[in-house]
């Protein structure tokens, strides 16, 4: 009896501060976002008008919003796919193959992840510049000027240029993550399958991939959240959503509406949609990727 009281006190003391901070600085503000999405408010005056779901109705017909939605989805898909493929490829190479200087590569690959997004934006502006940029000058050194592009100027390419920076930033992080989970796979599995004559590719698909599957699933959620987040920070610092809205993403459009178009409530409605969208997408992906968990 005494033990259970003590236990209760212990649990209470340990969880309350965390719960308080979480409530105060994350849950309440999130509820505020939801609440303000039902109002029309300029942001400065005290003149808040309740408009119900009107902001969401407007969203539905706002082509600029639809475009930022498309851009965001495109980024999530492209960045996730490319990053996962590259990260798995390189983590397999570094764990399974006896590579000279493996540690060196691991250290280098992780560097972009520790840089501030402000710095990354600066770096990629220097890379993508049409005349004095590293990329176009590099191409001209090898005499393949035909590949030179207006990386941030061509509306068909700009969003992919942004995704290039995001992939660059993310590959090392996920690679290290997959490496650590691959390192836990017992070597005996591979030895056994080697004796059965399985090649690298077979081994990869029958051992490595199934055993790190759960890890990959977890990272998919990270991908959704971090792509929405980082694409905004990067776009703000690099293109401001231009040219003509072709790199506008969810959050940059939300900021634009809330601040420069003095439609704070409308901005929050966009926030709500982003929140629900990322939640739903994660849930769906979680469902689709469900496999029987293989234990080792």
């Amino acid at each position: 009896m005494k033990k259970t009281t003590e236990k209760r006190i212990f649990i209470f003391v340990c969880t309350t501060p965390a719960l308080l901070l979480l409530t105060l600085f994350m849950i309440v503000p999130t509820i505020e976002v939801f609440r303000m999405s039902l109002y029309k408010w300029g942001g400065f005056s005290n003149n808040q008008v309740f408009v119900g779901l009107n902001n969401f109705k407007i969203l539905w017909n706002d082509m600029n919003f639809i475009r930022s939605l498309q851009n965001s989805i495109l980024l999530i898909v492209v960045v996730t796919l490319i990053t996962i493929v590259l990260a798995i490829l390189f983590s397999t190479l570094l764990t399974r193959e006896n590579v000279k200087g493996g540690n060196f590569f691991r250290v280098i690959f992780y560097i972009p992840n520790i840089l501030s997004i402000v710095v990354i934006a600066g770096i990629f502006s220097a890379i993508y510049d049409p005349t004095s940029g590293l990329l176009n000058n590099f191409l001209s050194v090898f005499n393949i000027e035909s590949l030179q592009k207006m990386w941030l100027g061509d509306q068909k390419i700009a969003i992919y240029s942004i995704s290039g920076a995001l992939v660059w930033q993310a590959v090392g992080y996920y690679m290290v993550m997959y490496m650590s989970s691959m390192a836990n796979i017992p070597e005996s599995f591979y030895e056994a399958s080697s004796l059965e004559g399985a090649g690298r590719i077979t081994q990869f698909f029958s051992i490595t991939l199934p055993l790190i599957w759960n890890n990959i699933r977890t990272t998919l959620t990270f991908f959704i959240v971090s792509t929405i987040n980082l694409s905004f920070l990067l776009v703000q610092a690099m293109t401001g959503g231009g040219p003509d809205g072709s790199t506008e993403v969810f959050l940059s459009y939300m900021y634009k509406q809330a601040y420069t178009n003095s439609s704070y409530g409308y901005g929050m409605a966009i926030g709500v949609v982003i929140f629900l969208f990322s939640f739903a997408l994660s849930a769906i992906i979680n469902q689709i990727t469900k496999r029987e968990v293989l234990e080792y």
């Binding site: 969203l59 600029n64 510049d129 049409p130 061509d154 509306q155 231009g242 040219p243 003509d244």
Partner: protein
């Protein structure tokens, strides 16, 4: 061992932070206490630190304080003024006088206009200039207080006073044209002819820093195609105005100009890289760009072609003998309704137009629309400000104020789309249709 050191470090830091916080609180309490004991009135002036620099404001404040020993002026001057003052404004701490123009990216001034949060200063214009026997109205160049930029609700009441003005137009390398023996085009037909000639020499006719610079350009062009009456109708979103033959002409000219635009322009037409576009003029890679007089100071440190010499011209006329316009921007100074010291603020407004103040501003290159001011200028500035002496007409004032309409922005639709026109991602027809649609959406929201 390492861990302990880390812990000790964090604790040391923690105590520093706590001390710092305490210091700050103490300081604030004492300063509050100080204010109540003194009779001094505090006037809070906030000014955007633009290309003219911050010093001129310090000088103005010093001068004003010498004249008014019982007024203590606090100055906030910052390049990102909005970032500094708007959090404080949300917190209820409004500056008493703010110099911040409309047309800024964060649109703080517009937001306050939309909220009707500016003080009516019509009466200030009829007051005498500080220490002088002439009213402000009589001292200003006529026309500057009759525009939507000063009277945003078009009701004859002035809410924003005109400060530093700056003619805009097409900027070019005068020396390059001289060397090549090319004339500065006076009509658009001459412009296209010059474009083809320049192309043969590997020079593009046109570039622009960002699409934001098209505001003055489009306004001038609207005035050229339709005259002032048409212009005001367009600025107040009259139904169908963007589908008239005049407007169509305007859209088509810009569409054609897009074909003569330097190819890397769009890629650099953002707030981070726009200087690379301006550099194209200095490097003789493009002939003309829309810009304002601040360009000279802004690019002062940049390398340039031998013999480079700034030139500025009004927009070419639609036809020979037609009107040519050069739009003029001016920064506005205004008093927020929520200011605590409105009378002191209005007093300060009369001071900024005094001879003393205007010569301090002029030293820094900031020119107020005061009669006779342009004659005192020297160098490039004399050339720029005398543009109106050479037959060009001055355009002024932008779009009428509206309530915020969710997801709708005339600036985005009218100017930002030009990137797509140049790159070919949108047709001129689509652009025109979108502008009319947005105009339709904004009309009911007019104040």
């Amino acid at each position: 061992m390492k861990k302990k050191a880390l812990l000790a470090g964090t604790i040391a830091l923690l105590s520093i932070v706590l001390m710092a916080c305490q210091d700050k609180d103490n300081a604030e309490v004492s300063s509050n206490g100080g204010e109540t004991t003194k009779v001094k009135q505090t006037l809070h002036v906030a000014a955007l630190e633009s290309a003219y620099g911050k010093d001129m404001w310090s000088k103005i404040i010093d001068e004003y304080q010498t004249e008014n020993p019982d007024v203590k002026v606090e100055l906030t001057a910052d390049k990102n003024l909005e970032d500094v003052i708007s959090p404080n404004m949300k917190a209820g701490n409004y500056p008493d006088v703010i110099l911040l123009a409309t047309g800024r990216k964060l649109a703080l001034t517009e937001n306050l206009i939309k909220d009707k949060a500016l003080e009516d200063i019509t009466d200030v214009l009829d007051k005498n200039v500080y220490g002088e026997d002439v009213t402000i109205k009589d001292k200003l160049i006529p026309g500057f207080t009759d525009t939507l930029a000063t009277n945003p609700f078009n009701d004859g009441k002035t809410y924003l006073a005109p400060m530093f003005y700056s003619p805009t137009g097409l900027f070019y390398n005068a020396n390059l044209l001289k060397e090549k023996g090319w004339e500065v085009p006076t009509t658009w037909d001459e412009m296209w002819a010059l474009g083809d000639k320049a192309k043969a020499d590997g020079i593009s006719l046109f570039t622009y820093p960002t699409t934001g610079y098209f505001d003055a350009f489009v306004y001038s062009l609207l005035l050229e195609v339709g005259g002032p009456d048409f212009y005001n109708k367009a600025m107040s979103y009259e139904d169908g105005i963007w589908e008239t033959p005049e407007a169509t002409k305007m859209f088509e000219i810009i569409g054609k100009l897009g074909k003569y635009t330097e190819p890397t322009t769009v890629a650099n037409a953002n707030d981070k890289d726009f200087k690379k576009n301006q550099q194209l003029i200095l490097d003789n890679k493009a002939l003309f760009m829309p810009n304002g007089t601040w360009i000279v100071g802004e690019m002062a440190d940049a390398p340039r072609a031998d013999g480079f010499e700034w030139g500025m011209t009004a927009l070419p006329a639609i036809e020979t003998g037609g009107d040519r316009y050069a739009f003029t921007f001016f920064e506005q100074i205004w008093v927020p309704s929520a200011a605590k010291n409105k009378d002191a603020a209005k007093d300060f407004l009369t001071f900024v137009y005094s001879d003393k103040a205007s010569s301090i501003f002029a030293e820094a290159g900031a020119v107020q629309p005061i009669k006779g001011n342009s004659e005192k200028l020297t160098g490039d500035n004399k050339l720029f400000y005398s543009i109106y002496d050479n037959g060009a007409k001055a355009g002024m004032g932008g779009f009428a104020a509206t309530d915020a309409v969710e997801g709708v922005s005339i600036a985005d639709t009218l100017f930002r789309s030009i990137d797509s026109i140049v790159s070919g991602d949108k047709t001129v027809k689509e652009w025109q249709k979108n502008v009319e649609k947005v105009s339709d959406q904004l009309r009911p929201a007019l104040k």
